[in-house]
């Protein structure tokens, strides 16, 4: 009987993501630090990230509205067991904060990193602001994370 063997393996998984027309416009806007949501002409709900059809009314969405890069935390968590970042393929140094962020001008939330991992300093409703990366590429990680405004 030999010792149980665990064979370490690294697998490379390549992917291609085809953006919808709405997401393509959203990403183009990010290159200029511009965030836009799609507003439903039926119920008035402003979707961010944008989606082509309203989930409530099933209307096609085409009314673009500006959104600020500041908002409020709608939910938060502190991650201790990091997962792979699908964009970079790397894990983030734990612990780190994550939040659902409702940006001013949007009715839905964005899932993103929060630059705070002390639970005693996190709360629903906290004001947060996007921290942009220096070289914008038109991707969601053009926003590095959200910082808490105090």
């Amino acid at each position: 009987m030999s010792e149980p063997i665990l064979v370490p393996i690294e697998m490379d998984q390549s992917w291609r993501y085809a953006a919808t027309a709405a997401m393509a416009r959203f990403c183009e806007g990010l290159k200029e630090c511009r965030i836009e949501a799609l507003r439903c002409e039926g119920c008035g709900r402003r979707y961010l990230p944008p989606r082509p059809v309203c989930g409530n009314c099933h209307l096609l969405l085409r009314d673009w509205v500006p959104v600020r890069d500041e908002g409020r935390l709608a939910a938060w968590t502190v991650v201790h067991v990091p997962i792979l970042d699908a964009r970079s393929g790397r894990t983030r140094e734990a612990p780190y904060g994550m939040g659902l962020i409702r940006l001013d001008g949007a009715d839905t939330t964005l899932n993103h990193y929060v630059a705070e991992h002390d639970p005693s300093r996190l709360a629903i409703g906290l004001r947060v602001r996007a921290v942009w990366r220096e070289r914008l590429e038109g991707a969601i990680d053009d926003i590095l994370h959200f910082e808490v405004l105090r």
């Binding site: 010792e3 149980p4 063997i5 064979v7 992917w15 291609r16």
Partner: protein, 137 residues
């Protein structure tokens, strides 16, 4: 708009009781082990905990190779080849790298396992199979 990238997924494969014994023998003894089914008498490589045909637990551990015969091969886009090798004594072939000129590959070619210098308990503890000195069977 199409975005493309890749992520690297690290994981650890738990080799299990029989697989661990097989890999430890590669790593520590440079021996290739199989299991003789006491019911159907086939010699299965790599070492297994049970016979998939008979469903019985197999206890007879047998060394095979390191020589063998090329049963089949396939060329890869990069010019290297994969080999299906029937190790001497074995009833089943194993897939591995074919070392050396892929152009020499033909069914029945005598090959020989070459062990890696740095062995860590994985199937790549065998670096691959190379044409044996002396040529065809």
């Amino acid at each position: 708009m199409i975005r493309s990238s890749a992520i690297r997924i690290p994981f650890r494969y738990a080799a299990g009781t029989a697989g661990s014994r097989f890999l430890a023998a590669l790593r520590d003894e440079q021996r290739i082990l199989g299991t003789r089914c006491t019911s159907c008498a086939r010699l299965l490589v790599p070492l297994r905990a049970f016979c998939p045909a008979c469903g019985i637990e197999m206890l007879e551990e047998v060394e095979v190779g390191p020589g063998g015969t090329l049963q089949s091969w396939t060329l890869r886009a990069d010019g290297t080849a994969f080999a299906l090798v029937l190790l001497d004594g074995a009833s089943t072939g194993i897939v591995h790298r074919l070392l050396g000129a892929a152009g020499e590959a033909r069914c029945g070619l005598r090959v020989q396992a070459r062990f890696a210098v740095d062995r860590r308990g994985g199937i790549l503890d065998i670096a691959g199979f190379e044409p044996a000195q002396g040529g065809a069977a």
